[in-house]
Symmetry: C2
Subunit: 316 residues, 2 copies
């Protein structure tokens, strides 16, 4: 690999110049090998926060964080593998409902979830509130479970995008979290590691969400879709206002309870609407519906005929 001078690369970003893919690769690889100390990475992250990354830089960063760890090979699993990612917000429980729906409709859903950011619990935290639920399957079993159930839900392991994990921890203590290209790279490196073919994104905004304004959410959504396309994955993003938390219940166990209500055909209207929209889009991208509208119809049917609830029972 070509060698660069770390200080020169920090200086380049500081001076608003674009880094080449080779230069980004060098930085992330040196950091992963502990040959670039945290204090240099944090200076680079702050320069990035203030001066941005262009699309090529963001794609290169995503690529390097992705390949810092294991990338799942799901070519053995038949079908178009589709996942959904939500940027999170208080009361976001759509994942728990739509994953069984989409799987029940014949689309394989490989889902590796992160922990919550700040006060908004992640899908994983919610699942762990179900006694006995094991989110720490190993990666071999990940493929087996997906093949068997069309659905696998696991927590982010050490093997998935470790460079992202370290950089995220560093961003957290250096005031460099709320940076759209860094957020996009972090999300996409983890999603791409799942071995997906397509991705639906639910970018939330509002006082209860991570992105405070619609404009920020739109910029993030654009970045996510651009990176997805760059990696050859069909990617569709929605913006969801979160001034009011979806559904009525906030808190991990209560949210699981409410999700089960939805899968049983009950549940609050707003939550159902968002869920069917996202699930329908996943079913469409997974090739099990000719349009998003048809996907939404199939999503609703899987709740009515009990197949989504059955899928939820299978995996729990």
């Amino acid at each position: 690999m070509k060698a660069f001078n770390i200080v020169s690369l920090i200086r380049k970003k500081r001076d608003r110049q674009s880094l080449s893919p080779e230069e980004i690769r060098f930085l992330i690889q040196q950091y992963s090998k502990d040959e670039m100390p945290d204090y240099q990475m944090s200076a680079f992250l702050m320069a990035t926060f203030l001066n941005g990354l262009d699309d090529n830089e963001a794609a290169a960063l995503t690529y390097e964080m992705l390949h810092s760890g294991m990338v799942m090979d799901l070519s053995d699993v038949p079908g178009i593998k589709v996942d959904k990612h939500s940027t999170g917000g208080v009361g976001d429980k759509t994942s728990l409902i739509l994953a069984p729906i989409v799987a029940a409709c014949g689309v394989p859903v490989p889902m590796i979830s992160g922990r919550g950011l700040g006060h908004s619990g992640g899908t994983l935290d919610k699942l762990e509130s179900i006694p006995g639920f094991n989110v720490n399957l190993d990666l071999k079993r990940y493929v087996e479970v997906l093949k068997k159930h069309n659905l696998v839900l696991i927590g982010q392991t050490e093997e998935i995008a470790p460079a992202d994990k370290r950089m995220y921890a560093l961003r957290d203590v250096t005031a460099t979290v709320e940076c759209i290209p860094l957020i996009a790279g972090s999300i996409m490196s983890k999603k791409l590691a799942e071995g997906i073919d397509a991705l639906v994104l639910d970018v939330k905004f509002g006082s209860g969400a991570f992105m405070k304004t619609r404009e920020q959410a739109l910029r993030l959504a654009e970045r996510l879709v651009t990176i997805g396309e760059e990696f050859g994955k069909r990617t569709i993003a929605y913006l969801t206002g979160m001034e009011q938390p979806l559904g009525q219940n906030i808190g991990n166990w209560l949210e699981v309870r409410e999700s089960i209500d939805c899968l049983n055909g009950g549940g609050p209207e707003d939550l159902l609407m968002v869920t069917h929209q996202l699930a329908g889009t996943m079913i469409y991208l997974g090739g099990e519906a000719a349009s998003i509208e048809e996907g939404i119809m199939r999503s609703k049917e899987s709740v009515q005929d009990g197949s989504a609830m059955q899928k939820f029972r299978d995996i729990v």
Copy 2:
């Protein structure tokens, strides 16, 4: 001391807000106590590099770096203590000539010198090229030598502005060196630690200097004078173009040789002119001349009558 959240303070600077003196104090004190790790300081330094510091912040930073170490008390030494600082450049040898001149004219010159930056050798490096010259006097002897000779030349010890020393080392590896308020704070914290009453600054610019343009040099000079005034020290700054190195000889020992030539009444015209201007200003600030012009006359006399050369011999 009031406690703040380090990440919040980094975020504040990142978001172009001004930090209060208490906030700056907190950061520097935490860093000095190893309670703020390098990776947080480097993020703060990069945010500072890109968003700047206002005059109050720069003064507070200087104050905290100054008081992170020992501040010399020269109240026992009669007279107005004056030093000169040059931002350095290839072939800057004025310190070696003017210090004996000014001391010979009756103004005490307490001079703590740093090492060279990059390719431009510092005064200290030049002095050490004189066999047997001891730049590591302890701080007690510093006062004694100054009292006896009106002149003391030592290297920056661990006791002088240690926070600046650590921050400078960190800036060097995080591409945050060329930042005018940080440079100004670094210079002034070390100069103020000498126990001076007044300061003459020689801010060089041009391809051979640290500041590449006259405009940058002017901004640095303004910052330095503002901080000096803030601390109640009379401060006068000159801008010196350095497209051509002063004098004819470059290299530590050759420069010492040339300095001795100057003190013996020889030496190149350009070097003599700059030296007498700066020395004259120091003599004026030290109260041994009624004007800079008179100071320049006295400076020239001290070379002609051999008293400057005698002073040089005394300290070597």
